[in-house]
Amino acid sequence: MRMPLFIALAALLIAGGFLLPQIVPNPFYFYAGYVVLQYVAIATGWNILGGYAGYTNFGASAFFGAGAYMAALLFKAFGASLLLQLLGAGCVGIILGVVTGYLTLRIQGIYFAIATVALVVVLETAVHATDYLGGAAGLPLLLPPPPAWFGGQPQYVFFVMLALAVSAVVAARWIEISWIGRSLRAIRASEPAAECSGVPTLKLKLLACAVSGCIMSMAGAPYPSYSSYVDPASAFSLTISLNALAMPLIGGTQSWLGPVIGALLMATVQQIATVTISSELNILAVGLVLIAFVVLAPDGLLGLGLFRRRQVS
């Protein structure tokens, strides 16, 4: 599929989402659908660094939480609109990604992974220590009413998240088929060889960190508007980090389609499962599935040939 056609389809999907509140009356579907789309955005963002370049990020919730808190901060301090909150969160994600990446990526991938784990702890501690952000108790937000067209807050944030997720997928696909994606794949295959062939590895890794961090933080930005409340335990939750890693690995990390399939599949199952089983068992199940895929099917569902498709080159 050519890129213009792909973008047209994506725009059509967003337009469909715009009309959906008029067709589907039950707000619960938007409530649940928001979470699924949020994971599509997070998994897609994670995959740009984790999948294309092969650098594991265990701290997706650090980026998500930073985005959510940046949005809450902008709203509390300046009453900023959701669009501005998204932009602010994106900037925070870029800064976090580049700083963490610059300090750790020069040596070995493993240190980057460890740094991202520690990043979650540090950011959560920082929020706990900041009274202005509500500390451990969390920060309730008195939100302005959503635009009348959408009929309610769930529908509105659903649409925003749909636009964000679709844009993220378009960006990921563009990166994948452009020279950036080729270079990142070269880095994944062999970093010294890529460097010797003239690929500016550090710059590209930092670029991937920035884009990945930006998308994951922006995915967190509508969260305060979604729940009209934000607290450290849920914004920096382990479930987010785990899902961000598990979804692309289950779907397949080599192409943009993998995280989308993984996120749609796992998030839908989890949305159904949280009604019936406890969240601990949920994490346990995801952990087991993750191990099974890493050991038995390292290329994910796409690698199994269930979704055979033309190689993008």
Partner: protein, 293 residues
């Protein structure tokens, strides 16, 4: 005078804490430092060890540190089995990328944590021992025995491990295996068996560290999470594979943390190890005592 008192107490607490941190980091110094296996599940294994010790202590009223020593044998076996699983999944097939190994251990640590939640609930668990609740007062400095006794254990265990690794044949083989597997084979040792053995030792060290942590404070299933950044910081700061360096680096981090806690704010202490880790990676990637790579 108050500053001096506070500073002196913080310094001593830091040294004592550092010794305990060294014990927690020791298993990782073997798996990550010597074998180059990125075992991010190590802190969760330590927490698992703490629970094993707490349960034996509460049921049979065995001293927690003795219970820890008793548990080293089952944990050694567990480590051997776990390494075999890891090796069959990755290393033998020759396509083990560190991304997948990391993910595997991340999944294992989740399973340990959630398994503990399911089995024991999220509430804090504690041990009973005669010395818990008493303190040693030396002039201005006051140290509770529940810190002092596990901390005194650390240098002993580190010395024993160091002697084992430098003075015995198998110890030398463990230190050699990550660098020159072929040469080891030519010398008549089986590299796979050596690695299994080393991983078993690391697990046994994890339960000893778990016993020490269970004595110092209450444990909960997610206790390992806050240790992860710190133990990797210690191993990296020490330099990969230096066992005595681990103790020095751990004490350095312990003192830095307790000084921050005493003079700035307790809420910033978890960031200290992280900052040290980043600074080490940026300025001196080989660590303080590591040989250049």
């Amino acid at each position: 005078m108050l500053i001096l008192n506070l500073g002196l107490n913080a310094l001593v607490t830091g040294v004592v804490q550092g010794c305990i941190y060294a014990l927690v980091a020791l298993g990782l110094a073997v798996t990550f430092g010597l074998l180059h296996v990125p075992n991010v599940a190590h802190p969760a294994m330590v927490t698992g060890g703490s629970y094993a010790v707490v349960v034996t202590n509460n049921w049979y009223e065995i001293d927690p540190l003795v219970a820890g020593v008793l548990w080293t044998v089952p944990f050694y076996v567990l480590g051997v089995v776990l390494y075999e699983f890891y090796a069959r999944s990755f290393e033998s097939r020759g396509r083990g990328s560190s991304l997948q190994a990391l993910t595997l251990f991340f999944g294992i640590s989740l399973i340990i944590e959630v398994g503990l939640v399911v089995a024991f609930g999220t509430e804090q668990q504690s041990v009973n021992a005669g010395y818990v609740g008493h303190s040693l007062a030396l002039g201005l400095v006051v140290i509770p025995y529940r810190f002092l006794i596990p901390a005194a254990l650390a240098p002993v265990i580190i010395l024993l491990l160091w002697l084992y690794l430098t003075r015995t044949n198998t110890g030398l083989a463990i230190r050699a295996v990550a660098y020159e597997e072929r040469a080891l084979q030519i010398c008549g040792r089986n590299p796979a068996a050596i690695k299994r053995h080393a991983f078993g030792i690391a697990m046994a060290l994890a339960v000893l560290a778990g016993a020490a942590l269970a004595v110092t404070a209450t444990v909960d299933p997610f206790a390992g999470r806050s240790q992860l950044g710190r133990v990797f910081a210690i191993v990296v700061l020490a330099g990969m594979g230096t066992i005595p360096g681990t103790l020095a680096a751990a004490i350095l981090i312990g003192v830095a943390e307790s000084l921050v806690m005493a003079f700035l704010s307790p809420s910033w202490a978890p960031g200290v190890a992280f900052a040290i880790l980043l600074a080490t990676l940026g300025l001196r990637p080989n660590g303080l005592f590591g040989a250049s790579r």
